[in-house]
Amino acid sequence: MSDDSKKTDEKAEDSASTDVVATKTEKPVTTDGDGHAEGVAPEKSYLTASRGVMSWLVTVDHKRIGLMYLVATMFFFLVAGLLAIALRTELFTGQQDFMSAATYNKVFTLHGAIMVFLFIIPSVPAGIGNFVLPLMLGAKDVAFPKLNLLSFYVYCIAAVMLILTLVLGSLDTGWTFYTPYSKSTGTAVIMATMGAFVAGFSSILTGVNFVVTTHKMRAPGMTWNRMPLMIWALYATALIQIMATPVLAITLFLLVIERTLSVGIFDPAMGGDPALYQHFFWFYSHPAVYIMILPGFGIISELITVHSRKHIFGYRAIAISSVAIAVISFFVWGHHLFVSGQSELAGIVFSFLTFAVAVPTAIKVFSWVATLYGGSIRYTTPMWYAIVFLWTFTIGGLTGVYLGTLSVNVHLHDTYFVVAHFHYVMVGGTVVAFLGGLYHWWPKMFGRMYNETAGKISALLVFIGFNTTFLTQFFLGHQGMPRRYYAYLPEYEVMHQVSTVGAWILACGLFLVLFTLIHAIKSGERATANPWAAVSLEWRTASPPIEHNFHATPQVTGSPYDFPEIDKSGKH
């Protein structure tokens, strides 16, 4: 043990200067399948290259930053998930059970705010994305490693600010902070909006880093058309983060100014316009929906191809549709305001544009299903999650068509139908893809395999629990059950109870995920460099990867989906 730590210390000193190591690894070395240089002793992985808490806190390694993001975002997923269980349990009966109305309002606000700002937005891009983006590009790190670390600390500050609202008293505005309610209620609103404001900066920094990395640091031979679709998705996401997030920052800042300096911007009592806030807010928050889902699309493209041994169907269509969605997403914010009193003409234009964004989304789903055609499908846990995703996301997407239809929206707006729809997209889409991605890349991150049976049981529990919880809510919505009610009419009780039981099942599935992943790190079988026999570059280095990712800069000669099983003899 003492020998080991001595060696590590030497290694730490050795790698203190990035430049030295970088020049070392740039020497052309031939590699074997496991990514180990021939004739050279195996290099330590990024996990063991240096030790001690400080080596993590000041790391500029994208893999370590990615892991820190993963730990932080999963912690907040747990917190906000427990809040959701509390909400669903309160809703088991129509009357007040164990929470007062005021407590319920604070709990649903925190559930939403934490899930959106501290979990979903950063989880896939900043967590998984940070880890895999440079590896998939064949780069040693992101373009600005220190900026990357800064973005993590900015995120931590935002998290502390949002948690402080608990101490400071009430935050009961809902995660949308609608004016003038947010102007009239407790003082914690300023802290919470500033928290979301700061979280936005973290998001922008990650976005800038990813855009530059994708443009400048692709391995030789990796043309835009040879990039894995995960990269296309992260790239499109980064573009939205850079362009949309400043609008949120300005909006929240104006809200703070109005509250502290009493300048009338959104409050009609001072000559402001409350609907203006909604326009500003959704100008960010609608594109933000795609910040949340696009990276999930990227993960699914990887999972389905690798585990069915097929080239992706319609590479260009999927890649271009990611960018198309990113662009159109900026012009559909008004569909959140169909009943707000915006002009009828605006409603019609926004409805049309909303239908326009449905087409590229549908193309993606069709392409994934078509990818399965003629494959050799391995039913691994990531593949199970990919299939769960296709089911749930298809429902999420199709119910979006109901909501885009103007007259139907009038009836369904702000009912449980909307709650069910966005949970189908955010949880059934992003979270399911995130879980599949975790299982897929876990062997790469930690060099350990998880238990396949337990993983599949978790996928099944998540599938059953999720659909039981949220499918019922579509019916509640079309029966007129408004959202954000802690007590409700007796006729809604049965469906609420089914939904609550589903939430408990879902929670069991998610705890099983946590358990299997931790168990894998502690006592999983050792993973090979490329357990899935994938072609993309992150599998061409050891599991877990060495600190600087690759011994030699990888050369790219073809598509990331060109699997050896593909029959090119013309028989198919």
């Binding site: 009357q95 109305a101 005021a102 309002n105 003038p180 309610y181 209620t185 409350p274 041994r309 097929k310 080239h311 992706i312 169907f313 319609g314 590479y315 009193g341 009828e344 019609i348 409805s351 239908f355 449905a358 087409v359 549908a362 789903v365 069709f366 299903v369 078509a370 399965l372 003629g374 494959g375 050799s376 499908i377 299939i387 296709l390 298809t394 429902i395 068509v401 109901y402 885009g404 239809t405 007259s407 139907v408 929206n409 009038v410 009836h411 702000d414 009912t415 019922t472 509640l476 079309h478 029966q479 007129g480 954000r484 007590a487 009419l489 007796p490 029959d567 090119k568 003899s569 198919h572």
Partner: protein, 339 residues
């Protein structure tokens, strides 16, 4: 803790439907057309879902890994197929867009002969005002609780002219399929023609704070020939034959939502409790003191901020013009009776 104005379980409307497969009552002119579009969407989306997920399951079964020697299809794209699966959904989407737009325009254009009814939203109640009648007492007593009552005639277009005193609320009548945000600082309207008699719930669907879930009202659709009489009955708050003055006073107390801020016992809510209040000597914010008598109660209801008891903030609205002499007498008698 602020009072629940009307607990949802006591709303007293018959359940609209308790089966997830049933549609709501089609109680307005807008409902049938919307239900038709909703069903069309469900059929088209249902078929799409079955096709997509059916293909997925078929491929999952057909192309399950058989052996390590499996060879997979080199297929990477198919222009015709991709064009078809972009164009066909686009056509359906446009049909939905057009039908949704046509119905939406109808929802936005009230006919010229519509009856105007004013609705004021505030935390957390709806005040309904019929042309030419006093506002505050359009209520119905249900199981000891008072709900705001919106009476509308069957078969005649009605336009609701809505405004908010504080934050954004949203008026939603599921049985009519209408909804509109009530944004402070401007008027909002919805219109409908009720086509089915009965009582239906009315919800607030824009989150507005603590008692958002309790901000409910009852819509009562009556035959047109009974409309005038029903409105008169609903807006008349008079002592009934054989009703004691204290019982009538309690009705006024609930109808005016006094119970939002004043408990019938001595406990403090937003304002002082009424129990044992009459005859008590109170010290005022200006340092003086007085004994609570009929004149002080009357003044405090018509000019609430003239003399405020120490320890409370002057925030009560005036009820001048809303409570007449007869109701005032009953209210004072009721407060006197509370020990």
């Amino acid at each position: 803790m602020i009072a629940t104005f009307i607990p949802p379980e006591k709303l007293g409307t018959p359940s609209m439907s308790d089966s997830p497969w049933e549609l709501l009552p089609t109680a307005s002119n807008h409902a049938a057309s919307l239900d038709w579009l909703y069903l069309a969407l469900t059929i088209v989306c249902g078929i799409s879902f079955v096709l997509v997920i059916g293909a997925m399951f078929y491929f999952m079964w057909k192309y399950k890994k058989r052996s390590d020697e499996d060879r997979t299809s080199p297929l990477t794209h198919n222009g015709r197929l991709e064009f078809a699966w972009s164009a066909i959904p686009a056509v359906f989407l446009m049909l939905f867009f057009i039908q949704g737009e046509i119905d939406f325009v109808k929802l936005s254009a009230p006919p010229a002969d519509a009856i105007d009814i004013s609705i004021t939203a505030e935390k957390w109640k709806w005040t309904i005002e019929y042309p030419g009648r006093s506002a505050a007492s359009t209520t119905e007593v249900l199981d000891g609780e008072i709900a705001p009552l919106l009476v509308v005639p069957k078969g005649q277009p009605v336009r609701l002219l809505m405004s908010s005193k504080d934050v954004i609320h949203s008026l939603y009548i599921p049985a009519f399929r209408v909804k509109k945000d009530v944004v402070p600082g401007r008027y909002a309207f919805v219109w409908f023609t009720a086509i089915e008699e009965g009582t239906f719930p009315l919800f607030c669907t824009e989150y507005c704070g603590d008692e958002h879930s309790s901000m409910l009202a009852v819509v009562k659709v009556v035959p047109p020939e009974d409309y005038e009489a029903e409105v008169r009955a609903a807006t008349t708050l008079e002592q009934g034959a054989g009703e004691t003055i204290e019982a009538f006073g309690e009705k006024v107390y609930k109808a005016m939502a006094c119970n939002s801020c004043h408990n019938p016992d001595a406990s403090v809510k937003v304002g002082p409790g009424f129990g044992g209040l009459f005859g008590k000597t109170e010290s005022m914010t200006d340092g003086s003191s007085l004994t609570v008598d009929e004149n002080y109660l009357r003044e405090s209801i018509y000019q609430p901020n003239a003399k405020v008891v120490a320890g409370f903030t002057p925030q009560m609205p005036s009820f001048a013009g809303q409570i007449n002499d007869e109701q005032m007498n009953a209210l004072i008698a009721y407060i006197k009776s509370l020990k």
